[in-house]
Amino acid sequence: MSVEITSTLAKHIAEKIIKQPSRVITPDEPIISSGLIDSFSLMDLALYVEDTFGVRIDDTELNATSFDSLDQLASLIQSRKA
C-alpha cells in the first residue's frame, strides 16, 4: 500500500512538478529540505494528495518537520485515511 502511494507520488512529482519525467525519486530522499520541491510546488503536491487520496493536509503541515520524504508523506496519508 505504502509502496503504491510513494510511487504514485514520485511519478506525479517527476512529471508534473519538476518536469523531469526521467528523474527517479526514491522514497527516502529528502524532497523539501533539499530544495527539490519549493514552497509553491508543495501546495500543488498537497492539492494533488487531497484530490487523489481524499486526505486533507493542513497549511501548517507543509514543511520539512511534518514530512520530508515520500515515505513520511505516505505514512501521514495512511494515518489520515485510517
Binding site: G35, S39, L42, M43, D58, T65
Partner: protein, 470 residues
C-alpha cells in the same frame, strides 16, 4: 540583554532544570519576572510596569478564548494563577524593599494595581460569558493583535499619539527624537498568539492549561528574539518529565557558550566595521565598500544566530528543546534555500499562515502560475519586511527578496525543463559554488535597505559598490 543578565538566566535555568516537580510553575515564575525585568525605560515611567502587565493580561485573555472548557477548570489552573499573581505583586511591592533602582525605575502604588486587577477580572468574566455566544470575538482579537502590532511598528503613529497625550495634558511635547516607547517582545508574542488563535479556529490546537499557554507565549529564553516555537511542540516538551543526560548538558553548554561568543565577541567586534551611514559617506573605494557590506552580513548572522544558540542552550537545561532558527544560510546555493535556513521559524510561520493559504486560495481560481508565485512571494516578503518596522526601508528590503525569489523560481523552472540528465559532478559543484556566491551577494545587497537609515543612503551605497559616485 547584557552578559550579566544572560549569566543570571543560565543560573536560573540550571536551578529550574534540577526541579523534579513544579518545573512548569518555576519556568512560569521566572518568565513573568524576566518579562518585567527586561522591559526598557519609557517616556512615561509607569509604562515600565504596565506594558509587561498588559502582555500578561493579553496572553491570559487570549488563552481564555482558545482553551477548552475542560482545560479552564479552577483545579488545574489555580497554581499558575497564584504564581503569576504573586510574582506581579512582589514586583510591585519592590517599592517597599527599596530595590527599585536595581531592576526597575518605579512601580505603581498598590491601590493602582488593585484597581487594575479588579477591572481586568471583570473584563475577563464578561468576555468569557460572551465568548461562547459570539464567535467573532476570536476574529476580533486576531485583528486587534494585528492592529496593535502595526501601531507599535509605525513610528509615525507612536509620535502622533505622544503629541496627543501631551496635548490632552496641556503640556508642551518634547522634540520627536525623544519619544521612547517600546513594547518588549511584542513582535514575537504576536506570532505565538496568532498561531494559537488560527489553530484553535481550525481545530488543530491541543488543549492547554493556563500555565502551559503563558509559558509558551513568554518563555523567557525566547520571548524577545525567538525562535518562534509551535504550541503543540512546546507543551509536549513541557509535559515530558525532565531527564537530563550528559549529552544534554554538553549540547546545552556548547550552544550557550558558542552563542555568547558569537554574539558578544564576533558580532560586537564586527559591528565596528559593518557598513553604516558614516562609512557610506566617508569611503571612496568600491572594494572597501564591499568589505564593509560583507562585514555587516556576517555581523547580523552572528548576532542573531548567536542569540538563538543562547536561547536554545538555556531552554535545553530546563528540558525544553527549542526549534532551530538557522542552518548555515550563507552556504545555500539559491535564495529559496537561503530563506529555508535563515530565521527558519519566522519563515515557517509565514508559510503556514500566509503563503500557503494564499497559494491554496489562488490555485482554486483560474490564475496563471507565474502570477500566483509573484503575488504570494511579494506579499509574504513585504510583510516579513514590514514586521521589522513600518518604513520604506523594510518594505524595499521585503520587495527586494520577493522579486529575487520570483526571478530565481522562474529561472530554476526554465533550467529544469531543459535539463534532461544530471550534470557531471564537477560542473554541479561549480554551479553550486556560483550559486552560493550569487545568493550571498544578493542577500548582502538587500541588507543595505535593512540597515541604512533611508532608501537614499541605501541607493548611494549601492551605486558606490558598483563604482558610481565614489
Amino acid at each position: 540583554m547584557t552578559i550579566v543578565q544572560l549569566g543570571i538566566f543560565a543560573l536560573v535555568a540550571i536551578l529550574i532544570g534540577q526541579l523534579k516537580k513544579s518545573r512548569e510553575l518555576a519556568i512560569l515564575a521566572a518568565s513573568v519576572f524576566v518579562l518585567f525585568w527586561l522591559q526598557p525605560s519609557q517616556q512615561f515611567v509607569s509604562l515600565v510596569f504596565w506594558i509587561p502587565a498588559a502582555t500578561i493580561g493579553l496572553t491570559i485573555f487570549t488563552w481564555l478564548l482558545v482553551s477548552t472548557p475542560e482545560s479552564r477548570v479552577w483545579e488545574v489552573n489555580w497554581p499558575s494563577i497564584l504564581v503569576i499573581a504573586v510574582v506581579v505583586l512582589l514586583i510591585d511591592l519592590n517599592q517597599f524593599f527599596g530595590l527599585e533602582t536595581i531592576y526597575m525605575t518605579t512601580t505603581p502604588r498598590l491601590w493602582m494595581i488593585g484597581t487594575g486587577f479588579i477591572v481586568y477580572i471583570s473584563f475577563l468574566m464578561a468576555a468569557t460569558r460572551l465568548a461562547d455566544k459570539l464567535k467573532f470575538l476570536l476574529t476580533a482579537v486576531f485583528i486587534g493583535i494585528i492592529f496593535l502590532l502595526v501601531y507599535l511598528k509605525t513610528p509615525f503613529l507612536i509620535s502622533k499619539s505622544f503629541e496627543l497625550i501631551y496635548a490632552l495634558r496641556g503640556q508642551e511635547s518634547p522634540a520627536e527624537a525623544h519619544y521612547i516607547f517600546s513594547w518588549l517582545g511584542f513582535s514575537y508574542i504576536t506570532f505565538r498568539l496568532m498561531h494559537t488563535v488560527r489553530d484553535f479556529q481550525t481545530g488543530r490546537l491541543p488543549a492547554l492549561n493556563l500555565g502551559e499557554y503563558v509559558n509558551y507565549v513568554i518563555f523567557f529564553p525566547s520571548f524577545t528574539a525567538g525562535p518562534i516555537d509551535r504550541a503543540e511542540r512546546f507543551v509536549q516538551e513541557l509535559r515530558t518529565p525532565i531527564a537530563l543526560a550528559d549529552q544534554d548538558w554538553l549540547e546545552a553548554g556548547k550552544r550557550f557558550f558558542l552563542g555568547m561568543f558569537k554574539k558578544f565577541v564576533i558580532a560586537d567586534s564586527l559591528a565596528l566595521i559593518a557598513i553604516n551611514e558614516m562609512l557610506v559617506n566617508q569611503v571612496h573605494s568600491a572594494a572597501w565598500m564591499w568589505f564593509f557590506l560583507y562585514m555587516y552580513s556576517l555581523r547580523i548572522y552572528f548576532d542573531f544566530s548567536g542569540y538563538t544558540d543562547v536561547a536554545i542552550g538555556l531552554a535545553r537545561v530546563m528540558g525544553v528543546r527549542l526549534p532551530e532558527n538557522f542552518a548555515s544560510p550563507y552556504f545555500k546555493p539559491n535564495l529559496t534555500l537561503f530563506w529555508n535556513s535563515w530565521h527558519m521559524t519566522l519563515t515557517q510561520w509565514f508559510r503556514a499562515y500566509l503563503f500557503n493559504p494564499m497559494t491554496r486560495w489562488m490555485r482554486t481560481k483560474n490564475i496563471s502560475i507565474p502570477l500566483i508565485i509573484f503575488a504570494t512571494q511579494i506579499c509574504t516578503m513585504s510583510l516579513i519586511g514590514l514586521w521589522h518596522g513600518v518604513s520604506w526601508n523594510f518594505l524595499l528590503w521585503g520587495i527586494w527578496h520577493g522579486v529575487g525569489l520570483f526571478i530565481q523560481n522562474r529561472w530554476s523552472e526554465f533550467v529544469r525543463v531543459r535539463t534532461t540528465s544530471p550534470l557531471p559532478p564537477r560542473r554541479q559543484l561549480l554551479l553550486n559554488a556560483g550559486g552560493i556566491f550569487l545568493t550571498f551577494n544578493f542577500v548582502s545587497l538587500g541588507w543595505l535597505f535593512f540597515t541604512l537609515p533611508s532608501p537614499q543612503i541605501a541607493l548611494l551605497a549601492m551605486s558606490k559598490l558598483f563604482g558610481i559616485g565614489l
